[in-house]
């Protein structure tokens, strides 16, 4: 066993952390959040140049990483800085699906940062079930509604799941295609999503099915857990600093045992969270992939809630204000529980898989 990052990953982490701590201040993020697009193409391009996207793909597909620990390093740093640019949806999910489909032309553009994607899969009433698809595919056209599709407005291509009556398949739909309607809205924790309706919209079959959806969701869970971990690191660090500097009753509030012990509990749970992310990243290719991912996603949901709520509570009123860094970070942590299955969903799944 070896728990050290490889030299390449360590370099990537250092580069990213340096760039983001210089560039991605609270003020800058609030500016981006207030903009119409809800993201910065400048940040997207510069991060692509630093290798953020390339690290998410294997060498076969033009990248220089693609393993669980590559994803974990990238997304932990993005989460730590509270980056709102949708690398998880716009690059990782769509890009890896296209890579699996052998569409290297598009994958190259994604890695270069010149193309963005969206994965239009979830549907109203589908909740977190991966096999809930009622959108139909007949004669090369798609009809149905997709719910809370991340990055749909900015995407050059949508990858849409649909059923032909026998099986679920994935289809490539170009921006502006006939019958494609995208009703966009901002998200509470930053970024944008949309309700997407398709009405006899032409879609090109990618020859991928439910297993491809499951595989890419596994990658997304690793990325999402790592992103939440990064955000939780920030929340913990902010709280630790605040307890040391904020004075009430003539002394730093961290010297009150009631708060000191809770800070200690947060730190204990953070070690659990770190290990849960390592477990997830390290089991992407194992027989126990799904069991481990469910364990990790459940734990991150629980610890995430604890960290976000305790960080806010121990700060007090200041943490409730939009202009303080923790406000955005706390929202990111809790909202991570609403993607790719929440705490309860993965608890049930863990029970199923561990008793099977």
């Amino acid at each position: 066993m070896n728990f050290e990052l490889t030299e390449e990953r360590q370099m990537l982490q250092d580069t990213l952390r340096r760039y983001l701590s210089d560039k991605y201040t609270t003020a800058r993020r609030n500016e981006i959040l207030g903009s119409e697009a809800g993201m910065s193409t400048e940040i997207w391009t510069e991060l692509a140049e630093l290798g953020v996207i390339g690290a998410l793909f294997t060498e076969d597909h033009g990248g220089f990483g693609g393993a669980g620990f590559d994803l974990a390093v990238v997304f932990e740093e993005l989460g730590r800085a509270g980056v709102v640019e949708p690398f998880l949806d716009g690059a990782l999910i769509g890009g890896r699906l296209l890579a699996a489909a052998g569409r290297s032309d598009l994958v190259d553009a994604v890695i270069a940062g010149t193309a963005q994607l969206a994965f239009a899969h979830g549907e109203p009433g589908g909740r977190y079930d991966l096999d809930h698809v009622t959108t139909t595919a007949t004669g090369g056209t798609l009809t149905g509604r997709k719910a809370v599709v991340m990055n749909a407005e900015a995407a050059d291509h949508l990858i849409v799941s649909a059923t032909n009556g026998d099986a679920i398949g994935l289809y490539l739909v170009a921006k502006g295609a006939t019958g494609l309607e995208v009703q966009g809205y901002p998200l509470l924790a930053g970024g944008r999503a949309a309700e997407v309706t398709l009405d006899n919209t032409p879609g090109e079959a990618l020859n991928l099915g439910l297993d491809a959806i499951q595989n890419v969701t596994a990658l997304a869970i690793v990325a999402q857990c790592a992103e939440a971990l990064g955000a939780m690191e920030t929340a913990t660090a902010l709280t630790k600093d605040y307890l040391g500097t904020r004075k009430q009753f003539g002394r730093p509030i961290g010297t009150f045992q009631a708060l000191a012990h809770r800070m200690a509990d947060m730190l204990i749970e953070m070690e659990q969270a770190r290990s849960a992310v390592i477990n997830a990243a390290g089991h992407l290719d194992s027989d126990e992939r799904d069991l481990t991912l469910s364990a990790s996603k459940n734990l991150m949901g629980r610890v995430g809630r604890l960290v976000a709520e305790e960080a806010i509570q121990m700060h007090g009123g200041i943490a409730m204000t939009q202009e303080y860094e923790l406000a955005h970070i706390a929202k990111r942590i809790v909202m991570a529980d609403h993607r790719f299955g929440d705490t309860d969903y993965h608890l049930e799944r863990f029970i199923e898989l561990s008793t099977a």
């Binding site: 909740r127 009703q183 509470l188 009753f249 409730m320």
Partner: protein
């Protein structure tokens, strides 16, 4: 002991239901139901309707124009009003300042200010917290210096809820810096139109403008606006905080919020079945409902004792802690129930946000509410402060 309502109480409940059905404007109820922001006009309209019926100042004595309801009547209102999606009564004039003026104010102050609270002439806000004085409220620095018939006020208040609507603010100010902290504080009524008062918005993490900073620069306040005695303000403040807290069990609001969670969970699909049938989710709902039922009885029990002359300090702290935990747990369930549709940001009060939520099940801004209500365990004396009070009173030497 008898847990059933008396015939009189049942008749009151009926009367209240009829009133809410006939008089609560449907546009306001719909906003409350969907968790949307209320405009100042919405709150004022509802106050005027209640006042027209004599039911606005529910805890005030009749002599001051109040309804003088019993604890049970107030509980019944709390539950029925929340179930009917009535807005909460804005507490600053009615539950906070009113009782202080009635107990400590001069006859002139009572005659002048109390009717103006009832008819809506004044909208009050609270000037207590300061950037450096939150949990440690007694360390407040905003100072008032005597100059002839006036006090000259300089300093800053913060977390002033709905201060953007207010024309009057009641403030704790330091009038003597040379004595023990608690003994140099006075209670002042300040007209917010006085030169030198500036209100600056604070945007909260759910994007809403609910609280403010209020700055005072050489603000001249007539000495007649001092409540009670100079340097006795801390006593009045403690009295007020007790009044503020008794409402914080929040039984009605919790019951209504839990009913909304159940409605949502019946509509949400989980593996081909309604979410409410999912054992994990159902267990979460049941657990909080069990706690809430006990808390509702605690609330009634404690408030009844207070009405009978008991001291509600310690118990008020207990209600505040338990009530806020239960309410926050329900808000957490609501965001869970909403699933992926918890993520969209929708608030009509916020520029750039969509005003309709795409969720076909009408979850409303469940996540925004979850975040906003983290305040429940922070404001009005944080839960840590309340626990400190409970521990001190029970273990550290009498009450």
């Amino acid at each position: 002991m008898d847990l059933s309502y008396t015939p009189q109480e049942l008749a009151f409940q009926d009367e209240l239901r009829t009133f809410l059905r006939d008089e609560l404007p449907s546009d306001i109820a719909e906003k409350v139901r969907m968790g949307r922001d209320l405009a100042k006009d919405d709150m004022e309209r509802w106050h005027a309707i209640l006042n027209g019926r004599g039911w606005l100042a529910q805890n005030w004595p009749k002599a001051f124009g109040g309804a003088e309801w019993s604890a049970v009547q107030r509980h019944i209102y709390d539950v029925e009003a929340a179930a009917a999606n009535a807005p909460r009564i804005v507490p600053f004039g009615l539950s906070m300042l009113g009782p202080v003026l009635q107990k400590f104010g001069s006859k002139e102050q009572q005659d002048h200010w109390l009717p103006r609270i009832l008819d809506g002439s004044d909208w009050w806000c609270q000037g207590y917290s300061e950037p450096g004085a939150g949990s440690d409220l007694a360390s407040l620095k905003c100072k008032a210096e005597r100059d002839g018939d006036h006090y000259v006020v300089n300093g800053q208040k913060t977390w002033t809820t709905l201060g953007q609507h207010a024309n009057m603010i009641f403030c704790l100010v330091r009038t003597d810096p040379n004595v023990k902290q608690q003994e140099g504080i006075s209670f002042l009524l300040i007209d917010m139109d006085t030169p030198g008062v500036e209100v600056r918005p604070i945007i909260l993490l759910d994007g809403c403008h609910e609280v403010n900073e209020v700055w005072f620069t050489d603000v001249r306040v007539p000495v007649a606006n001092l409540v009670g005695e100079e340097n006795k303000g801390w006593t009045y403040a403690k009295y007020l905080l007790t009044h503020e807290r008794t409402g914080l069990g929040g039984v009605g609001a919790s019951q209504a919020a839990l009913a909304a969670v159940k409605r949502l969970a019946r509509a949400e699909n989980h593996n081909g079945k309604p979410l409410i049938q999912n054992p994990h989710f159902a267990a979460r709902v049941a657990q909080v409902e069990i706690d809430m039922r006990a808390m509702a009885t605690s609330n009634l029990r404690i408030v009844s004792q207070a009405a009978a002359g008991g001291a509600p300090g310690l118990e008020a702290s207990m209600l505040k802690v338990k009530g806020s935990i239960i309410r926050q747990e329900i808000n957490d369930l609501a965001r869970r129930a909403a699933g992926p549709y918890a993520m969209p940001f929708a608030s009509e009060g916020v520029e750039g946000a969509n005003d309709t939520i795409p969720d076909p099940n009408g979850a409303g801004p469940a996540a925004a509410k979850y975040f906003n209500n983290r305040k429940l365990s922070i404001f009005g004396g944080s839960n840590e402060i309340q626990r400190g009070i409970i521990a001190k009173v029970t273990m550290g030497g009498g009450r």
